[in-house]
């Protein structure tokens, strides 16, 4: 039975009955990275160094060497990334079970609120209101926060003031509630960081990282095209690179949705 379903599934993708939505930004040097205070270590931006291009360095081939951080561009956060998850079992990208890389997703839309207030915080009330319309969030689902922030570019995307970034994210109670009450798989955002831009001032600071990773859950950041996903039912493929003791990696995030 399962094998027939899989073949049907593959045919449905090939025929376009299942649409494959790319939730990934192109890895390019100009994509913003998280900026730490200058005294601290920084995440490397994405860089390409051409090895050869059908030239005297390599006559018939073109290829590049890459450099980047684990948290550059569209990327996956593993529990080992945060202090609160450092001692959990199977907490790095190479030890997370492969089955964890495929999961369904709920998409919560706060794009209107975020447009009006870049520091908008997702609340428990917002989630409950969403559930009223779309049903209870099933266990082990990704919760993806649609803010349409991916439609911004450059300075507007980062929205850095002289007191830090101003981008939307979850309030501490919302994250705790999603973990405790809904057993979520992980949290995904369009912004740099699963947390709000001003989250270092929250209690606890960076609650999405703190609670998600502290409970062995995952993060996805710098997603795009969330506006093309249904509120429920998308199947997300998000498999990070298998890096030894890796805390995360840039990756290709794909969402499968029925074509209609």
């Amino acid at each position: 039975m399962a094998s027939l379903d899989l073949l049907d599934f593959a045919a449905a993708i090939a025929d376009g009955d299942i649409a494959v939505i790319d939730l990934t930004h192109t890895l390019a040097p100009d994509f913003p990275t998280i900026v730490m205070p200058p005294e601290l270590g920084q995440c490397a931006p994405f860089r390409m160094e051409e090895i050869s291009r059908y030239d005297e360095r390599g006559p018939a081939w073109y290829w590049n060497n890459l450099s980047m951080g684990e948290h550059t561009g569209t990327h996956f956060d593993a529990p080992i990334h945060w202090m609160s998850g450092k001692d959990l079992p199977n907490n790095s990208v190479d030890t997370i079970p492969a089955s964890a890389f495929i999961a369904t997703a709920c998409v919560i839309d706060i794009s209107t609120e975020s447009a009006a207030n870049p520091d908008y915080e997702l609340t428990v009330a917002d989630i409950e209101a969403w559930e009223t319309r779309h049903g209870r969030i099933p266990p082990r689902n990704w919760v993806l926060l649609r803010t349409d922030w991916s439609k911004r570019a450059g300075r507007d995307y980062v929205n850095m003031g002289d007191d830090g970034q101003h981008t939307p994210g979850p309030c501490p109670e919302a994250v705790r509630w999603l973990v405790k009450e809904r057993d979520v798989h992980g949290f995904g955002t369009e912004t740099i960081g699963t947390d709000a831009g001003q989250a270092n001032h929250f209690n606890p600071p960076y609650p999405a990282h703190y609670y998600m990773h502290g409970h062995g859950r995952y993060g996805l950041q710098c997603l795009t095209n969330l506006d093309l996903l249904p509120p429920t039912g998308a199947v997300v493929f998000a498999a990070p690179l298998k890096i030894r003791k890796g805390s995360g990696s840039p990756l290709r995030v794909l969402a499968l949705v029925p074509r209609s």
Binding site: P29, G41, A44, G154, R155
Partner: protein, 413 residues
Amino acid sequence: MTEPLKRPKRKDPLKKTREPLLPLKTRSRTALGLTAAAAEGRFALQVCANCGKVMYPPRDACPRCLSPRIPFQDVANGGALLAETTIRTSIDVYFRERMPWRVGVVKLDCGPSIVTHLHGDAREGERVKMEFKLDRSGQAVAIALPEKDTPNMADDPEWRELTCNPKFRRILVTDGRNAVGQAMAKALSDAQASIVFVGIADPWKPFPGEEALRKIGRVEIVPLDVTDSVSVDDIAGEIGGRVDIVINTAEHVRAGGIVERKGLTVAREEMDIRYFGLMRLAQAFGPMLRARGADGVNSAAAFVNLLSIHALMNLPAYGAFSATEAACLSASQSLRAELRPGGVKVVNMFFGPLETEWYQTMPPPKVTPAALANATVDALRRGLEDVFVGDIAEDIRARLAVNPKAVERELGS
């Protein structure tokens, strides 16, 4: 009377670009003592340690007492212009296309007669002041200037050929995000650069001084990230043919030694911004600079590096940074040789701590960004190659000349 320089017209795109030629570059080893003096803007001749005779041309025994102890020393540079001639034809290919060209013989107050280039306002029978300058081959030549400054002096063609005056030239300041880059943009605009391109990386990140930078006259902000090869190549492709002077203001200053500062990510950033950044700029802009070294009034003239004095001797409190600066210094020496066929100078500005945030804990005397910018403009105007800015840099340079090992110990204590 020097004719004021006319702002150059737009280049005729159908005309062949004049290729750079160089004057004779061979010199005896002893004569390179003049090259060392000219690089720093000093007027030095050999003075016999035994009998005091001042001699020229450079040689290996005193012509009065035959002593071999004849070191180079700074000497008084006044003299009288005895005779002048205007050369109208020459078999030398470099000078042939720069005719007419005045030379003369000056009797120096300190003794010798010196065959010399002449500034247009140096007149026969009058007093002059002499300088040694680096010509397009990177070797020292003498030029006689009028004793007192004259109007539009810097516009004299023989003088301009020996210097890298920013006036009417187009200049790229590679990083305008920091105070030095911003001060540099202002100083160059004041020095009548015809355009100052200012590179900004990570445009999504705001930076202090941005508003004032955008208001400076003739400044054009361009995207440029010296850590990104694609960015550097792209901007070089766009503006490279219109850049006459590159001033690399990209900086990365962090305290910490080789052992003491844990991990390599900061060191990699350091090397990427400073050393590989220099290499990217050299590869992207070097060939075009070299090709345009003789391209009229706004010919390609210089590539300027801003280097810590600790490139010359490591300061362990900033040990990793010093090593990176040393790498940049060595690279600049290669760059100097590689750009020379174009007659383009590589200028190294050396300085100690700056009055900027990353040197915050270092005690004064420190160099302000404005002082560094002004010293750079001055170095370009005077055609210098090795410039020491501020008391700390001068002090370390003087101590290195006496006993480098002592400096190593003293900086490391």
